[in-house]
Amino acid sequence: MCESCGCNREEDFGLSTGKEGGTGFHVHRNADGHLHVHRHQPGEHAGPNPEDGGHTASTRRVEVRQSVLSANDRQAERNRGFFQARNVRVLNLMSSPGAGKTTLLERTLRDLSGFVRMAVIVGDLATENDARRLREHGAEVIQVTTGTLCHLDAGMVRSALDAIDLDKVDLLLIENVGNLVCPASFDLGESGRVVLLSVTEGEDKPLKYPPIFKAADLVVLTKTDLQEAAGYDRDLALETLRSVAPQARVIEVSARSGDGLEDWGRYIAEETRVYENLRKGVQSCGE
């Protein structure tokens, strides 16, 4: 009998090929139906110690209670303090691949760079293509290639900061890796979480990927110029967003036609608190 793995419990598969002194291999089925094979060390099958809740004499319980993301969360808090001390606002832009993050950023840099000093961190699995596109608009752009990693984490943002002179920046825009799942779990130290959803993706996307929408401060519905071609049901999309993410503000834009960009400009103005300069920018942004 093995007290440390409990493989003689009723729900176990109960296949123990390891008699004492035998091969030591145990095969049993966990409560969730998974087969589990493991091998015991000689002498491990000492009798249970009744004073230790039935554990083997030598095993002990260690309470840990540590969030697996705690290392990331600590770094994110350090980033946040670093940004606050320099009075830099930081937006974390998240969406599925192809929802229009880079295009919205291009338009933002083009229209607002006279009013807000911006820098961009771009995350992608590979290539400098997005950074190259954005650099054409004169902003400082740092490309982070994550290799196989599906999201940016706080440590990557911290490393990217070495290449940016934050004293010359009011707004740091972070374009996360295109992915609607993982980026939701990783705090980067941002002041605002922006989730983009394009009209071509389907009105029920927030129902399919609730965590990221529930974490959003702002949802930007993009590519509104394609509504008709996509057979997009605007009322249904807004209703779905309201039910899944009632906390989020929602704006609708087309970075291509310019429709709705004044709302995006207003959000940035409120975030960066540079209303005076932006009033002109918001106007030109919508033109």
Partner: protein, 114 residues
């Protein structure tokens, strides 16, 4: 999607806690994974099977994953409830304005060590 990197971090925490406790090896790792944590228990388990062998301390360990359901408190009437889908609407007053009490966690709760 990132279960492998999360599991690598989890095993790092586990090994460092085991070292602090003066343990030679870990028999059992118990974790809690919330329905909103963005991880799939099956993928976590797979990552664990792959990664545990990378160190003798964890090579013989088992894992238990306790799923944590989403619990909300209605900000309008104060009722606590477990939503049945992604729309967190209060069953009493039908307000969608709910505070999430649990379901986001992903934590290593305890271990059995030798």
């Amino acid at each position: 999607m990132h279960e492998v990197s999360l599991m690598a971090q989890m095993l790092e925490i586990a090994r460092s806690e085991a070292a602090n406790a003066g343990a030679r090896r870990i028999d059992l790792i118990q974790i809690r994974a919330g329905a909103l944590s963005g991880v799939v228990p099956e993928a976590l388990r797979f990552a664990f099977e792959v990664l545990r062998g990378s160190d003798a301390v964890t090579a013989g360990a088992r894992i238990e994953i306790e799923p944590v359901a989403v619990r909300c408190r209605c900000r309008t009437c104060g009722r606590e409830f477990e939503p049945s889908d992604a729309v967190f609407v209060c069953p009493d007053c039908e307000s969608p304005d709910a505070e999430i009490l649990s379901g986001r966690e992903l934590e290593l709760t305890r271990m059995e060590v030798l």
